[in-house]
Amino acid sequence: MTQTSMLRQITDFANRANPYPLYEELRKTPVLHEEEDGPYIISTYHDIEALLHDPRISSDESNVTVGGDDELSGPEATGLPPSFIRLDPPEHDRLRRIANSSFGPPHRPHRIDDMRGQLEEIITELIDGLGDAREIDLVDQVAYPFPVTVICRLLGVPREDEPRFRAWVDPIVAGLDPDSRTAAESQRTAQEARLQLGMYLNGLVEQRTKEPREDMLSDLVHSSGPDGAMTTMEVLSTAVLLLIAGHETTVNLITNGMLTLLRYPQYLERLRDDPGLSVRIVEELLRYEPPVQLLPQRTCIADLEVHGVTIPKGSRIWFVLAAGNRDPHRFTDPDRFDPDRQDIQHLGFGSGIHSCFGAPLARLEAQIALARLAGRLDNPRLVEDPPPYRPNAVLRGPRHLNISVDGIK
C-alpha cells in the first residue's frame, strides 16, 4: 500500500485535533480491513448499532485468535482478572449487576441524583478557587479535578491519594491506545500499573471489610444479593475500572464541551441564560465530540457477514463510535453542533449490554460543570485553537484548554 493506511492515520497523533475528515473517509468503506492481522473497522451508525447488539460479538480478549498472542493479556500475567468491560455474559452480567446494585435502579435509584448537591458544592469550590486569574487551564483547574473528586467520594478513595493513583492510571489509559507500534510495551506497562493500582485499592478494601462506610467500595465488599458476593479479586478489578472510567472520560466530555461552546458562542450565551439547556448540550456533545472515540476491544466468536464482507471468527473488530455519530445516513447535517436537534440517539455511551455503566453520573457531572462555567466565566475566549491534545486516540480530548477571561462571577 502506497498510502498511509487509515488505521495508521487514526492512531497518528497529527490527526488528533480533528479526526472527523478521516472518519468521513472511513465510512466510505463500511467494513475496512487493511492489514492481514489488523482489525476490521466498522464506522457507520447502523452497523455499529447492529453489531453492538449481536450476540456473536465478544469483549473477551481470549476469543481473539489473530495478530500474535499477547502473552500478557491473561489473568495469570497480571494477577488481576479482567473487569466486566472485558467479559461476556454470564460473568459480565453478574458482575455488572452486583456493581449496579450499589449505583442505580432498582436497588439505589437515587444514589446519583442525591449527589447533585455535592456536585454543585465541588464545582463551586473549584470555580471559586480560580480567584481573579485572567487565564486558566480548564483541564487542570476544573475539568480534571471535578470528576476525580466526585469518583473518589463515590467509591471511597481518599482524594489526597490522587497523585499516587495518577501514576498508575496514566499508563493504564495509555495502554488503551491501539497504536500498534508501541502496543507490546505499553501493554506490559499498563498491566503492571493495573496490578499496582489494584494493590493500592486492596488496602482500602481491607479497611472497608472491617469497617464499612457509605461508599461503593464498602458496598462491593459486602455485596450479598441474589448474585452472591464478588471475590476480592473481582472487587479489585471492578474498583480499578470504576475509578478510571469514572473520571478519564468525563474530563474529556467537560473539556470537549467547553471547547465546543467556545467555538459556538451562541450556545454558551443561551446556556448562561438557561442552565437547563445543559441537558441538550451534553447529549449533543456526546454525539458531536464523544469522549470515547472508538471501541477497539471486540472480536467475534463466529464468522460474521457484514455488507458482504466476511469477518472471520477471532478477528479484532473496532467500532468507531465517533464516526457513527457523524453518519449522514443517520443524522441530518451531522457535522453541525446543534443542541436543538430532536433526533439525538447517539453512540456516545455505546449501545447494548456494555453501554456505559456510569452514564447517569457522567451526564450529571457534565451538565453541572458546563452550566456553572457558562454562568461564572466572564467573557471566556480560547487562547489557542486547536488546543494541545492528549496522545490517546480512544479517549480523545485536549491535554490543556487555556482560556482567557475578564474575571470570575
Binding site: 447492529a50 447488539h53 450476540p55 460479538i57
Partner: protein
C-alpha cells in the same frame, strides 16, 4: 373534484373524527396535525378522561408507586381538537359519513379514524360478576377501585386467568404480602402468548413468590355471601377457595359492538383493515375514508405470511396510529404500510419480559442465550425453517438483534454460537402452544344469490 384537489381541500378544511381517545387516538391526532392537517378534528372517547397510559395500571399503580389518576399520556404537540369525552360512539352510518353518539348527537366526518381499542372481558355470569369484590382491570377507574381494596388488606385475592395482566396483578399483590391464588385453564401462566416451555418458567416464578397457582382448572362459580360480597371461588376440580377479592383477567373483548350493522368488517376479532390501515367492509372491499389503528385493528403483515394480526401492544398502537394518520391525508402513492414488528413487554416478580415477533406462530423454540433455570435467557421461536419470534427474560438488550433476524427471515434452528450459549440451547424443542383448533366465536359470512350480478354476502353477527 379531482382527487388531488379533494385531498388539498381535506387537509385544509376537512373534518376528521377520531373515535377512541386513548393511546392510538391521541398519537393519530398528533400525527395528523404534525403532517399539516388544518381542518376540524374531533376526539370521541367513552371514558371521561383525557388520554392516559394503561401499562402502569397493573404495575406501579397497584404497588402504590403511581396514582391511578395520574398516568396521563404526555402530549407530543397541541392538537387543537374538539373533545367529546365521556360519550361513547354507538353507531356508524357509512353512507352518510356520520358517527352516532350515546347522547343522541351525530358527528359528521370526511375521514374517520377508529381506535376504540378493547375492554376487559367480563365474568360471563352476570349475577356473579356483580358481586361486591369482583373486579376487572382495564381502566384507571378499575385500577383505583382495585387499589382501594388491596390497601384495605384483603384476606385473599383470587386471580382468574394467568395471562400477562393476571400475572402482573398477582405479582403486585405478592410484593405487598397479600395472599394470592391464581387459576389458569392452561398448564401454566403465559402459555397462550409464549408457549409451555416459557410458561413453565413463569409457573416457577409464581410459586417461588408465594402464589398459590392452580393450573389445568377452570373457575366454575363465584359464591357470594348473603349481603352480596364475594366469599369463595369454586373450581372445576371441585375445590373451593375462600377469597374476598376476585379479579377476572380473561383477556380482552374488542370494542366493535357499536359497528354492528354498519357494514364494516368488524367483529369480535377486531376490524379488518389493509396494511395501510384502511378498513374493510364486510364484503372484503376496502373503504377510502375509514381508517383503523390500535388494539381494535386487524391487519395483514407481510413478514408473517400476510396473516391478519391483531395486536394488543402499546408500541403497535403508536406505530399504527401514525401510519393511519399519515395515510388519511396522503395521496395513494405516498401511503405507507404498517410493518411494525410486534413487540411487547411485561414486568412481573422482578423479571423483565420482552418479546418480538409472533411467538404463537413458532412450533419450536431454542434457548440461544442464558438458561431457563437461571431465568435469564433469550428464546428464539421457529416456523417453517425461519426465525419468527424471540422472547427474553431479563435480557432485553439483545432483542434488537433478534428483531433484525426476524425481519431478514433468518434461518431456524439458530446454528451460530453466542456469547452465552449453553448446552441446553443447542437443540430446538416443541414450543408447546395450546391447540389452536378450539372453537372460535367469530362472525359468520354467507353467500346468497345465484348469478354473479346478484350474488351478495350476508353478515351474521357473532354470538358472544
Amino acid at each position: 373534484m379531482p382527487p388531488t384537489d379533494y385531498l388539498d381541500w381535506l387537509r385544509r378544511e376537512g373534518r376528521i373524527v377520531v373515535v377512541g381517545a386513548s393511546l392510538a387516538g391521541l398519537r393519530g391526532a398528533e400525527t395528523l396535525r404534525a403532517e399539516g392537517f388544518g381542518g376540524e378534528l374531533t376526539m370521541i372517547g367513552d371514558e371521561p378522561y383525557e388520554p392516559y397510559d394503561r401499562p402502569p395500571l397493573s404495575k406501579a399503580v397497584l404497588l402504590g408507586r403511581a396514582a391511578p389518576h395520574h398516568t396521563e399520556l404526555p402530549h407530543r404537540r397541541e392538537i387543537d381538537a374538539k373533545w367529546r369525552l365521556g360519550v361513547a360512539a354507538t353507531g356508524l352510518d357509512i353512507e352518510a359519513r356520520r358517527v352516532r353518539l350515546a347522547d343522541g348527537d351525530e358527528v359528521e366526518y370526511d375521514r374517520l379514524l377508529i381506535a376504540t381499542g378493547v375492554r376487559a372481558r367480563p365474568w360471563p355470569k352476570e349475577d356473579e360478576a356483580r358481586l361486591e369484590g369482583v373486579f376487572t382491570l382495564r381502566t384507571r377507574d378499575d385500577a383505583a377501585a382495585l387499589l382501594r381494596r388491596l390497601k384495605a388488606g384483603p384476606r385473599r385475592v383470587f386471580v382468574i386467568g394467568a395471562g400477562f395482566t393476571g400475572s402482573e396483578i398477582a405479582s403486585a399483590c405478592r410484593e405487598q404480602g397479600i395472599p394470592v391464588t391464581v387459576a389458569e385453564r392452561a398448564g401454566a401462566p403465559l402459555v397462550g402468548a409464549l408457549g409451555g416451555v416459557i410458561g413453565a418458567v413463569a409457573a416457577e416464578m409464581h410459586r417461588e413468590n408465594g402464589v398459590d397457582l392452580r393450573t389445568g382448572v377452570m373457575v366454575t362459580a363465584l359464591e357470594g355471601d348473603p349481603v352480596g360480597r364475594v366469599r369463595a371461588v369454586h373450581l372445576s376440580d371441585e375445590s373451593i377457595v375462600e377469597a374476598d377479592v376476585v379479579i377476572v383477567s380473561l383477556g380482552a373483548t374488542r370494542n366493535t359492538d357499536w359497528l354492528t350493522g354498519s357494514g364494516l368488517g368488524a367483529g369480535p376479532r377486531g376490524i379488518a383493515c389493509d396494511a395501510g390501515c384502511r378498513a374493510f367492509d364486510f364484503r372484503g372491499i376496502v373503504t377510502d375514508d375509514i381508517f383503523v389503528a390500535g388494539d381494535v385493528a386487524r391487519s395483514p403483515h407481510a413478514l408473517f405470511g400476510y396473516q391478519f394480526l391483531s395486536l394488543e401492544h402499546w408500541g403497535n398502537a403508536v406505530a399504527q396510529a401514525e401510519i393511519a394518520a399519515h395515510n388519511m391525508i396522503s395521496p395513494s402513492a405516498e401511503r405507507r404500510p404498517h410493518l411494525w414488528v410486534p413487540a411487547f413487554w411485561s414486568s412481573q416478580f422482578g423479571v423483565n419480559i420482552k418479546s418480538v415477533g409472533v411467538p404463537p406462530m413458532g412450533e419450536q423454540i431454542m434457548i440461544t442465550q442464558g438458561s431457563l433455570a437461571e431465568r435469564r435467557f433469550v428464546g428464539v421461536y421457529g416456523h417453517n425453517g425461519r426465525t419468527i419470534a424471540a422472547v427474553s427474560f431479563d435480557n432485553t438488550r439483545w432483542l434488537e438483534f433478534y428483531q433484525r433476524e426476524i425481519e431478514r427471515g433468518a434461518p431456524f434452528p439458530v446454528e451460530f454460537p453466542t456469547v452465552d450459549r449453553r448446552p441446553e440451547g443447542r437443540v430446538p424443542v416443541d414450543s408447546d402452544f395450546p391447540d389452536p383448533a378450539l372453537p372460535t366465536h367469530g362472525p359468520m359470512v354467507t353467500l346468497s344469490g345465484y348469478s354473479p350480478t346478484d350474488q351478495q354476502l350476508v353478515f351474521h353477527p357473532a354470538r358472544h
